[in-house]
């Protein structure tokens, strides 16, 4: 079971780029890296998923080095509404039993 390690909390000012790094040293060959966002009193929401190199969508970018032992979620120009907990998950597709949420990173965006 690939466990993830990420910072407990981060603060950022509005308009800045935020990078949250996640370590997953024991990632398996068939594991994907997925990031979820969770606001208070809501369920987690999918942000981005990748296997290797770089993935970009309208919300974020995900950078994965060649050894895949870590990954970095990049949020461009954050706003106050990006204040949330961000979870890094590692596991095979369709295998919910291998989705380990961990503690997540609580991002606070400051005006």
């Amino acid at each position: 079971l690939a466990k993830t390690t990420q910072p407990i909390s981060m603060d950022s000012y509005e308009g800045q780029e935020v990078n949250i790094t996640c370590s997953h040293n024991n990632i398996a060959t068939n594991d994907y890296i997925t990031w979820y966002q969770q606001f208070p009193s809501q369920g987690p929401r999918f942000i981005i998923q990748g296997y290797k190199t770089k993935v970009t969508n309208e919300v974020a970018s995900l950078f994965i080095p060649a050894d895949r032992k870590s990954s970095t979620l990049s949020l461009p120009r954050v706003s106050l509404s990006d204040t949330a907990v961000y979870y890094c998950l590692v596991g095979p597709l369709g295998g919910a039993n291998n989705l380990f949420f961990g503690t997540g990173t609580r991002l606070t965006v400051i005006p």
């Binding site: 369920g43 987690p44 190199t53 979870y87 597709l93």
Partner: protein
Amino acid sequence: EAGVTQFPSHSVIEKGQTVTLRCDPISGHDNLYWYRRVMGKEIKFLLHFVKESKQDESGMPNNRFLAERTGGTYSTLKVQPAELEDSGVYFCASSQALRLAGRDSSYNEQFFGPGTRLTVL
């Protein structure tokens, strides 16, 4: 399109009582998952349905918990009898059947409901 819905949003019961939580997944989603977060802990997987069949129930804490998915549509999670340590937020999620479109572009997004906050007194 409606998202994943859960009912009730909150439930307060006494120890020893029975509670049934309901989850309505997104229409057409074969996969349905239950998770929970107990106070101060991380979100933990409970079980996974593929249509009406239990694919994996390794996360179910004990036999006081019973999950069903009638006809592969909505799902219920019954706790009987409830104990104090069952308090927490129970999340349901659903996803489409796995689609593969090349290793770097494959995804299997899980859509989460808002959760049911269960308080056992």
